[in-house]
């Protein structure tokens, strides 16, 4: 018997196929979940309509399928169950092509649920900042797999009109067939997006598309700091049971420099720059499930020892998957320890909605010129990516210079107790 994608409700017309929970050849009981699908309301499972053996799977993960389409077949013993009549989906009334201030009342979107906005929402293409697309444009774009964010609009205020989409499609040229949705072949492997990965992807895309970034690199002579660390590391390990790296020194220097350069500890507010009173420094950590940025709150009130302990604690919990929601909220600045990967220069993406992010690169012994003579020093590069709407080169430079000066200068870091 044929298994169809069931009609879910009046206003849902199609779904994206997720993970198949049963394979061809499996015995399935009636109501056993067969496959996960995602509609614009929520993720759901399609149950088996009968007991039998799954004989073929007709759609693959990632395919967009209309309600009612046949997605699989199964071999059922005995009498075929009578197909219940399916409700016809509500035909969308012809919506006006123009969205103005009166707005349009959408037909092919599910409303909120009775007691909330529903489960995790897949992000629709119409969420692009400042852009709204008419139903006609959305439908045309979807049918021809067009990326709306790539189209310049010729309508009022830069709106993308139906004509714009149509000429984009026409201009895609002779000989290019409309893109079929890619399906997995033998040389490919599809990895479904875990929620964390999806969130990271959204944040990165949002940052990259909304923030005009500039980048600066500064060399820092950490020779004396490295020596200090080497002297203290064993004692620290014994007393604190944790590793002492250069990172807590950097965090301390950054916290102090942020206090002097408050514009760097801020967010873009649309019509204002929002300075943050607290200095909460996030440290990017590669946890097993993906990049996570736990935050050291009030980092400016902590000394190097306390910072080292905090970093160790957060890193351990990140790796064990034991971070709490409070641990990843409230950050005002982010440090990205790319040096641990061996990088000596790199441009990180700003952790939206902050205004800057600092890479601490690997400390490498290099020949440098001091007083016209060559010496061997430990050089660590600091690379800052900053929001050029908020900060100019001078301000970003002053901040990084403040960090550099603190890391290079002789000072009491408060380690000898």
């Amino acid at each position: 018997m044929k298994i169809e994608l069931p009609h879910v409700g009046e206003s849902v017309t199609e779904a994206i196929i997720g993970q198949w929970l049963k394979q061809v050849g499996d015995t399935v009981q009636k109501y056993d979940p067969l496959v996960e699908v995602v509609t614009d309301k929520v993720a759901m499972e399609v149950p088996s309509p009968a007991t039998g053996t799954l004989s073929s799977i007709l759609v693959q993960e990632g395919d967009t399928v209309p309600m009612g389409a046949v997605i699989a077949e199964m071999a059922v013993e005995g009498v075929e169950p009578v197909e219940a009549t399916k409700p016809t989906p509500e035909i969308s009334a012809a919506a006006p092509a123009v969205i103005d201030r009166t707005g349009v009342f959408l037909k092919d979107v599910a409303p909120v649920g009775p007691t909330g906005s529903g489960g995790p929402m897949p992000v629709s293409s119409a969420e692009d900042e400042g852009r709204s697309y008419s139903p006609a444009v959305l439908r045309l774009a979807q049918a021809h797999d067009v990326d709306l964010s790539a189209i310049t609009g010729t309508g009022i205020g830069g709106r993308v009109t139906r004509k714009d989409v149509q000429s984009h499609i026409d201009g895609r040229g002779q000989g290019t067939a409309p893109q079929a949705p890619p399906s997995a072949t033998d040389d490919e492997e599809r990895i479904p997006l875990a929620p964390v990965r999806r969130m990271i992807a959204e944040n990165m895309a949002r940052s990259a598309s909304t923030i005009p970034e500039a980048w600066m690199l500064v060399e820092v002579d950490v020779s004396s700091l490295t020596q200090l660390r080497e002297e203290q590391v064993a004692r620290f390990q014994q007393r604190e049971g944790a590793k002492l790296t250069l990172l807590p020194f950097v965090i301390k220097a950054v916290a102090e420099s942020l206090a002097e350069n408050r514009m760097v500890n801020a967010t873009w507010g649309g019509d204002s720059i929002v300075l943050k009173r607290k200095i909460n420094i996030g440290v990017a950590i590669a946890a097993p499930q993906g990049l996570v940025v736990p935050v050291i709150h009030d980092a400016d009130t902590m000394d190097v020892i306390a910072l080292a302990r905090a970093v160790n604690d957060l890193a351990t919990r990140a790796h064990d998957g034991r971070l709490r929601v409070e641990d990843v909220q409230g950050g005002t600045f982010t440090i990205n320890n790319t040096g641990a990967l061996g990088s000596v220069a790199g441009k990180a993406i700003i952790n939206h909605p902050q205004v800057a992010i600092l890479n601490t690169e690997a400390a490498v012994k290099r020949p440098v010129v001091i007083d016209d003579a060559v010496a061997i020093r430990s050089i660590m590069n600091l690379c800052i990516t900053f929001d050029h709407r908020v900060l100019d080169g001078a301000e970003a430079g002053a901040f990084v210079a403040g960090v550099k000066q603190r890391l290079e200068g002789a000072r009491d870091w408060g380690l000898g107790r």
Binding site: P6, H7, V8, G9, V12, K30, Y31, P33, V42, A43, M44, E45, V46, P47, A84, V112, G113, P114, T115, G116, S117, G118, G119, P120, P195, G321, R322, L323, R324, V325
Partner: protein, 343 residues
């Protein structure tokens, strides 16, 4: 719809009664049925057939253990939206309950006018008037007072969650019940979350029961995953109530495995790992293991409970799927006792 319901609580419990092995086995069977039903209505929501679902998964022992301590047909049960397992414990069938989830004709609690699980069942003494949080508490107190005035030998049990404990009505109701020594048991199902708001933001004390002293009544905290512990605490509270000694707060600590309702996305405020950790103390599994160690449950019986439960839920799914929606002829009925309102 009269149907043979298995007896829920036979003897009136005294303060030191506990559940017999036979009763424990019956609870387990009912829990297996409830869990199967719960999972099925969640699936119906994802299919668009049940508009709203609040799951009781994780709460089963707290709900059923307390029901077993009371007298079906005599005592009064004031519920809140998560008390699916109370309905199953009291003997409502999967079909009757599922009619509420799919809002079809013949729904026994409200004629499908209300959310599922809401309404009234006169025979079973169930009252669940609204899903406004906490309003049931003063109502339950009034009911307890009335039953004493009428000389009934009835106890009222009022179920509520940790969120409801913050509502002004809760304070007002408990205070009054204590002053008047009313025959009521306040049963709190504390799962640590009111939608997304955790206990630490809900109250500055460790437990709702710790406030009992402030009202002038006893309060006790029990492990909500342990059917026997819940049963014993509720029995004792019910015995006090029946003996005219007034109210008690019985607070059961439980875990909520699923989001607040089918409209909630708990990944916004809860870590997967915490929920997985909580599922290791699944009350249904705990009771099953206990029965196996008592030598009362073998794998054949366990398998039978599961397949029978599944069959009953499958049958309910079929029946309610085929059932018609309510007609609109009765739309204006029961606004007033005396007939339809003037247009």
């Amino acid at each position: 719809m009269q149907r043979d319901r298995p007896d829920v609580a036979g003897e009136r419990p005294g303060a030191d009664a506990s559940l017999t092995d036979e009763q424990l086995l019956a609870v387990y069977q009912r829990m297996v049925l409830c869990r199967t039903l719960d999972e099925r209505v969640w699936m119906l929501n994802r299919q668009g057939k049940a508009a709203i679902v609040a799951s009781a998964q994780g709460h089963e022992a707290a709900q059923m253990g307390s029901v077993w301590a009371l007298k079906r047909g005599t005592d009064l049960f004031y519920l809140y939206y998560r008390d699916l397992a109370v309905l199953v414990a009291l003997g409502m069938t999967p079909t009757e309950i599922m009619l509420g989830f799919v809002a079809k004709e013949g729904e026994p609690l409200s004629g499908a006018r209300q959310f599922p699980v809401h309404g009234v069942h006169a025979d079973l003494g169930i009252v669940n008037l609204s899903n406004v949080v906490g309003t049931q508490i003063p109502q339950a107190v009034g009911s307890a007072m009335a039953s004493r005035m009428r000389g009934e030998d009835a106890v009222t049990i009022c179920y509520f969650g940790d969120g409801a404990a913050s509502v002004g009505d809760c304070h007002e109701g408990m205070n009054f019940a204590a002053v008047h020594r009313l025959p009521i048991v306040f049963l709190c199902e504390n799962n640590g979350y009111a939608i997304s708001v955790p206990l630490s933001k809900q109250m500055a004390v460790d437990s709702v029961a710790s406030r009992a002293e402030g009202y002038g009544m006893p309060g006790v905290v029990v492990d909500g995953t342990d059917v026997v512990a819940v049963y014993e605490a509720t029995s004792e509270a019910a015995a006090r109530a029946r003996a005219g000694q007034g109210p008690t707060i019985v607070e059961t600590m439980v875990e909520r495995y699923l989001p607040h309702t089918s409209d909630d996305d708990d990944s916004r405020y809860r870590l997967r790992e915490d929920i997985e950790e909580a599922r290791k103390r699944d009350p249904v599994k705990i009771l099953g293991q206990k029965l196996v160690s008592l030598g009362v449950l073998d794998s054949a019986t366990d398998e039978r409970f599961h397949s029978e439960g599944r069959r009953a839920v499958d049958e309910a799914t079929e029946l309610t799927d085929q059932a018609p929606y309510p007609g609109t002829d009765g739309f204006f009925d029961h606004v007033y006792a005396g007939g339809p309102p003037s247009p």
